[in-house]
């Protein structure tokens, strides 16, 4: 691990100013960042510890919740209000990582975790995300935990979060404090950038921007399902996952929000899939059509071609369960 200066921030303003310095990074749970620092995939010259800023509370806000950025994945999954009103979020969190990691990993850090593409981790190979312009080793290399939606000729790296998939289906918003002290909100749907020819730029955050909270509005659907398909039964990243938030009225789908993990370069939600389902009566034909729409722009490679049929089947299974 490269040497770095460590400082513990005592208020969010100080933290933002300290992290605006070149090569500075925030650290809270550290479960992903420290791993990447050991491998020297990331080598920040300064770490600003934000774990004691008091951003670890979950507060009601209108009909929704304000989740502090350093609330751990364990505390969020176990929160009685989340379990009751946003069960898809608890389910997604519980499907991710291990008990030990969930006890450290935070809400903000989960959103900002890096891809698990093996070439991003392997500093001996080219990777446009790690070293812009060096090339993509996954194209023509080993592919499995890679994206088929939102990819570019420069990067097929997957966003690995489960939590963020549920949050996309729940229309979450990210609260940010900037280095200039300004507060702003970014809808999660706008938060991530597609890789394009700048795969090293993953979000809309600017240097020094601190995630302070995630806002969850009241759930628009009482029927919520999270389904995760992976290579082993526990403690593995998704090959495909799906979060569904649905409200039924008179036998028809009144609200549909579907989001996917394991498929996209960012937690994936397709407004055309939701629009196709809304107002319709559930049927196998409808679910098949939804799968076709979801996969209409899929770009597959030899190692990721299986994700098209698998993704369609997961979508169909989740829709059958959530509309039953």
């Amino acid at each position: 691990m490269r040497p770095f200066d460590y400082s513990r921030a005592t208020d969010p303003g100080d933290a933002c100013r300290a992290a605006a310095a070149p090569e500075a990074a925030f650290v809270a749970g550290g479960t992903n960042l420290l791993d990447l620092m050991k491998l020297e995939v990331m080598a920040p010259g300064a770490l600003v510890d934000i774990s004691r800023l008091g951003l670890d509370g979950i507060e009601p806000e209108g009909d929704g919740l304000r989740i502090g950025a350093t609330v751990t994945n364990s505390d969020l999954a176990a929160d009685a209000r989340v379990r009751e009103g946003w069960p898809v979020l608890s389910r997604a969190l519980l499907a991710g990582a291990s008990g030990q990691l969930r006890n450290k990993a935070t809400t903000g850090g989960n959103l900002l975790q890096r891809t698990r593409c093996p070439y991003f981790y392997d500093t001996d190979t080219p990777c446009n995300k790690r070293e812009p312009g060096s090339g993509c080793s996954a194209l023509g290399g080993e592919q499995r935990n890679h994206a088929i939606l939102g990819t570019s000729p420069d990067c097929i790296a997957l966003h690995p979060s489960d939590m963020a998939v549920a949050m996309r289906a729940l229309d979450a918003t990210v609260a940010v404090q900037g280095a200039n002290g300004e507060h702003r909100h970014i809808a999660l749907s706008e938060f991530y950038r597609l890789p394009g020819d700048t795969p090293h730029l993953e979000t809309r955050l600017m240097p020094g921007d601190l995630i302070t909270a995630v806002h969850l509005p009241a759930a628009k659907g009482n029927r919520q399902v999270y389904r995760k398909v992976r290579d082993r039964a526990s403690y593995a990243f998704a090959l495909v996952s799906a979060a569904a938030v649905v409200r039924m009225e008179g036998g028809r789908i009144a609200h549909a929000a579907l989001a996917f993990g394991g498929l996209g370069t960012q937690p994936w939600r397709d407004p055309e899939v939701d629009a196709l389902l809304t107002g319709e009566a559930p049927s196998e034909a409808l679910f098949d059509k939804a799968g076709e729409v979801l996969m209409r722009d899929a770009e597959t490679h030899e190692g990721t071609a299986f994700k098209v049929p698998l993704g369609k089947r997961v979508l169909k299974a989740v829709l059958a369960e959530v509309t039953a």
Partner: protein, 193 residues
């Protein structure tokens, strides 16, 4: 599987870290409580909680398996919660209370430790301290009513079935695959509590 520093004890080297660059930051002071005893250390900011415990306090019960949070051999209890000590910086634990496997036994081994012996819950024993620390905190999570990925209901009572146990302990790998003994030891202890 062992990390390069797994068996070295650097009592005289407070700046020990995984690699020593020429521009290492000056040592930082850390005060924390480990197994009920207060300690103050001067550490390089890069030292993980695991290396601080093993190399600076001589508490070598916690093991370095993968050093990347994948195997669970380094599991300790910080502030009542089980964590991977390999993925946490020591300096971030200033003021914290840490419990390692060395802190679980009183004059006699704890019930869970005795159950591991009774049910032969190990072969080589390398994962055992992590398994035991993890299980102690996991049983607390169950009694706090935390659901798991395999729980039918998110809000109902939790019963520690074999399936629940496997899911909740999935962050602790046993390369000797002594899971039948490990499971039996944890289940027996849970039922007795």
């Amino acid at each position: 599987m062992l990390g390069p520093h797994a068996s070295h004890f650097h009592e005289k080297d407070p700046s020990h870290a995984t690699s020593q660059g020429p521009e290492a930051a000056p040592p930082m002071k850390l005060s924390f409580t480990v197994n009920g005893t207060e300690h103050t250390l001067d550490l390089d900011s890069r030292v993980t909680l695991l290396d601080a415990l093993r190399d600076h306090l001589g508490l070598t019960g916690s093991k370095k398996g993968c050093d990347h949070g994948q195997c669970g051999a380094c599991t300790v209890i910080a502030g009542g919660r089980r964590i991977n000590a390999c993925l946490s910086l020591a300096v971030m634990h200033d003021g914290d209370e840490i419990t390692t496997v060395e802190g679980l036994a009183g004059p006699e081994l704890s019930a869970l430790q005795q159950a591991f012996i009774k049910h032969d819950g190990f072969q080589c024993g390398y994962c055992t301290p992590g398994q035991i620390c993890s299980a102690v905190a996991m049983l607390r999570e169950v009694s706090d009513g935390w659901p798991s990925h395999v729980s039918d209901s998110l809000t109902g009572p939790v019963r520690l079935s074999r399936e629940e146990l496997a899911e909740r302990m999935s962050g602790n790998l046993c390369r000797c695959s002594c899971y039948p003994g490990i499971n039996a030891a944890i289940l027996e202890t849970a039922e007795a509590e």
